[in-house]
């Protein structure tokens, strides 16, 4: 820096000297002429030469010249006209000013650009005018130079200046060379310096977060640390102290606290994607059961139910496989496109989604909307035709006919794997499929929700709240199973017990279910099994009875445990249970301890506060009850979206087939073969854009919603916060 400053000052001096030299030279030209300044500019000068002739062209006697004083300087060319005018007005013609452009452009000290300056020489007489002129010069920021009177001194000055300039140039050269050397050296070590500075900055940022202890001699940092890693941390600290050669060791000590610890769930690259979709809803509360290990399978499965198509599933699977196999390639990892990164982060998710879609595609028997005949179809058209003597003429007159399963031999047993391929040829395809998918959605939904309630058991057990097992889990399960478990039973029963023989009188489950709630019965709707009505009455009564237990059980239990209003009888839970207990292992089916409101609330509260707490607990429980009971009904219906989306997907792919691809096979000539290529291109593009991307995203969204709302509100609290592991943050690197 010093070197640069020196160099700058040297340059400035050099410039000044040069300017002075020029001024003298040019001024010399004017004043060395024996004739006054009235003589016009010497010919051949390309410069703009302005002469002010106040005396109307009359030559000024040389005598007057000796009496006048000179001011010489340089002025910025843009200001020349203004300067002139001002001089003229201010001094009323008692001066003569000449302007000449400098022969070479020089650097402007202020702006650094190279400008051709204008040299001026003002001759005047009288002291006051001199002062005025100087003031004006100051205003205009001109560089003024002393103008020696006699010619001899002028020449002397010029030679002197020459010498000075020479010396200065040499010095300047040396300075420049030296500066270049210094810069070179610095450039070599600059990267290391930069890294060191960044490291120091990061370290100081972290140290700022620590606090001083009592003696002000050392820093204390309060951290959260997983209990499992405690010994590792101690080892690391010991090693660090040893390596830095300090005399005092750093050590770590457990400290009791009433704060709720952060949640740490360890994931590997496979499980991270699934954990992130659970965390997007809410990070698990401390030591709560983690739904992510189950979501690894149930989420792709629910997606696949809505997406089920072998062909589309295969495409999705291959795309994800490519991403997974090349996941270490830097080209894939360093993409900047956000959408691509989202897909890449979820590559394992998409892999599983594709795999399950292939499976459900086989069950739905859909491959790009076409059915595959893996096993021979269960329905025999020939038998039906022979039985009803469908001759060619008969067929010609009847555009559509139905196969009757009552005729022996027409239906030969259920298709062993999936939906029978004949249904894809049938016109009443949707009649059968709708019934099947609706029941499937309801069954799977109730199973999913039941599983959610069961997961709540893990929470109750882990947090030592066994009373909740009896007072919450049991009523919840009874409510769910008595009503909706019974519905599942009815569905399965009807599938097994009723066949084509009694298809005319087959009861409607829906009507039965509604009648069950209303305690009415419908004469046309036959019972499914003898004794159905009393059984249903019992079940409804059971379900209704479980509601008040759910509503009042836990609050009353807590109230009784707290012994009413006496303060002394309060069993204070040691706050240590809320400490750094073993954090949740995300890999195993959760054992969790929840440091909930109960522990914190039951510690040392005044009786008034307890009363309020009881009201709060009661209200909380009421909300939970209402939410659960109403939720059971609405969430069951919500699972019907599985049916709706799979239907939409099937219809869309069928439309693409019939309206796009099939037209490519119409022409059977060679031209038809050529036409097939653009048709297939259109089919492929539409398949990827509409069916894979749009339907995929839609099914993904709905599966996510089913998990987040219908499944997780049976047991999940999700009010925790994540552990931010100690790391030097990247934004301190700048």
């Amino acid at each position: 820096r010093e070197v640069s400053r020196n160099r700058a000052s040297l340059c400035g001096r050099l410039r000044d000297l040069r300017q002075y030299l020029h001024v003298l030279r040019e001024g010399q030209r004017f004043t060395s002429l024996p004739v006054g300044p009235g003589v016009p500019a010497p010919p051949g000068s390309a410069a703009t030469c302005l002469t002010v002739q106040p005396w109307g062209g009359l030559p000024i006697p040389a005598l007057l010249l000796c009496l006048c004083s000179f001011v010489a300087g340089v002025i910025h060319p843009w200001r020349v006209t203004a300067f002139e005018r001002l001089l003229w007005r201010a001094c009323r013609g008692y001066l003569v000013a000449s302007f000449v452009e400098m022969p070479e452009p020089m650097e402007d000290p202020a702006t650094g650009e190279s400008i051709t300056w204008v040299i001026f020489l003002i001759s005047y007489w009288g002291e006051q005018i001199g002062q005025k002129i100087r003031k004006i010069l100051d205003c205009f920021h001109c560089q003024v130079y002393a103008y020696p009177e006699s010619e001899a001194s002028r020449t002397e000055a010029i030679t002197r200046l020459h010498g000075q300039i020479q010396e200065l140039s040499v010095t300047l050269e040396e300075t420049e060379k030296y500066l270049a050397e210094v810069l070179d050296k610095v450039a070599q070590v600059l990267p290391t310096w930069r890294v060191q500075v960044q490291k120091m900055k990061a370290i100081y940022l972290v140290l700022n977060q620590c606090s001083f202890d009592v003696t002000k001699k050392c820093l204390i940092a309060e951290v959260w640390c997983p209990v499992r890693d405690l010994t590792q941390v101690q080892d690391a600290l010991r090693q660090g102290s040893y390596q830095s050669g300090s005399s005092v060791e750093c050590f770590v000590q457990r400290v009791p606290t009433s704060e709720s610890p952060p949640t740490l769930i360890r994931t590997n690259k496979f499980t991270a994607g699934f954990q992130s979709i659970v965390d997007a809803y809410g990070v698990a509360s401390y030591q709560e059961v983690n739904p992510a290990p189950y979501a690894i399978i149930t989420f792709p499965f629910i997606f696949a139910i809505m997406f089920g198509d072998v062909g589309h599933g295969l495409l999705m699977f291959l795309f994800a496989l490519w991403m997974v196999l090349y996941e270490d390639s830097p080209r894939l990892r360093q993409g900047t496109n956000e959408i691509w990164l989202t897909f890449f982060e979820g590559r394992y998710l998409i892999l599983l989604m594709g795999a399950f879609s292939i499976y459900t595609g086989f069950i739905y028997n859909e491959c790009f909307s076409k059915a595959t005949v893996i096993f021979p179809s269960a329905w025999s058209v020939a038998t039906m035709a022979n039985h009803s003597s469908w001759s060619a003429a008969y067929l010609a007159t009847h555009p559509s006919l139905t196969l009757d399963p009552n005729v022996t031999g027409v239906f030969r047993g259920p298709y062993p794997f999936g939906i029978d391929p004949i249904w894809s040829l049938a016109t009443n395809h949707l009649n059968f499929l709708n019934s099947f998918k609706m029941k499937m959605s309801v069954v799977l939904g109730i199973v999913h929700m039941g599983f959610g309630v069961v997961l709540g058991v893990f929470n109750h057990v882990h947090f030592q709240q066994r009373h909740r097992l009896v007072l919450e889990f049991l009523p919840e399960m009874i409510f769910l199973l008595a009503l909706f478990g019974y519905l599942v039973f009815l569905i399965f029963y009807k599938w097994i017990k009723f066949s084509a023989a009694d298809s005319m009188v087959a009861p409607s489950i829906l009507i039965h279910f509604i009648d069950m709630f209303l305690f009415t019965s419908n004469a046309e709707n036959l019972p499914l099994y003898p004794g159905q009505v009393p059984v249903q009455v019992v079940l409804v009564v059971l379900a209704l009875a479980s509601v008040p237990i759910l509503l009042l059980g836990t609050p009353l239990y807590q109230w009784c445990r707290q012994g009413g209003l006496t303060v002394g009888a309060v069993p204070v839970q040691p706050l240590a249970t809320g400490d750094q207990e073993p954090l949740l292992e995300g890999q195993e089916a959760g054992n969790s301890v929840n440091a909930t409101t109960e522990d914190v609330e039951s510690g040392g509260h005044s009786p008034d506060a307890k009363h309020l707490d009881f009201a709060e607990i009661f209200m909380h429980q009421a909300i939970h009850t209402i939410e659960y009971c109403l939720g059971c009904v609405s969430n069951t219906a919500s699972y019907l979206r599985l049916w709706a989306l799979s239907l939409a997907h099937a219809q869309l792919s069928e439309v693409l087939w019939t309206m796009v691809m099939r037209n490519g096979f119409v022409g059977l000539s060679y031209v038809g073969g050529v036409v097939l290529v653009p048709v297939f291109a259109a089919f492929a593009v539409l398949t990827v854009a509409i069916l894979l991307v749009m339907e995929g995203l839609s099914a993904f969204l709905h599966a996510l919603r089913l998990h987040w709302v219908e499944f997780q509100n049976k047991f999940y609290v999700g009010a925790g916060y994540k552990l931010c592991p100690f790391a030097f943050a990247p934004d301190t690197w700048e």
Binding site: I305, I363, A382, L403, R412, P414, Y415, I422, F432
Partner: protein, 79 residues
Amino acid sequence: AHSFALPLVLFSAFWGLVGIAAPWFVPKGPNRGVIITMLVTTAVCCYLFWLIAILAQANPLFGPQLKNETIWYVRFLWE
């Protein structure tokens, strides 16, 4: 003619193997829990889905309605 019992036994055995027997053979490691969870969940989900599909077709209450062209073609093709 398709039997109902044979596929039932076969698939129950298969998914039973996946969901009940295979978890015993998962090698010990940090991911053992996750893998067992995945196996069991997969077995339950896929078995249930297949079971629903076959049960829904076991006793059909009505048959497929086909166009006359389809009947004319399939009648001789699928026999």
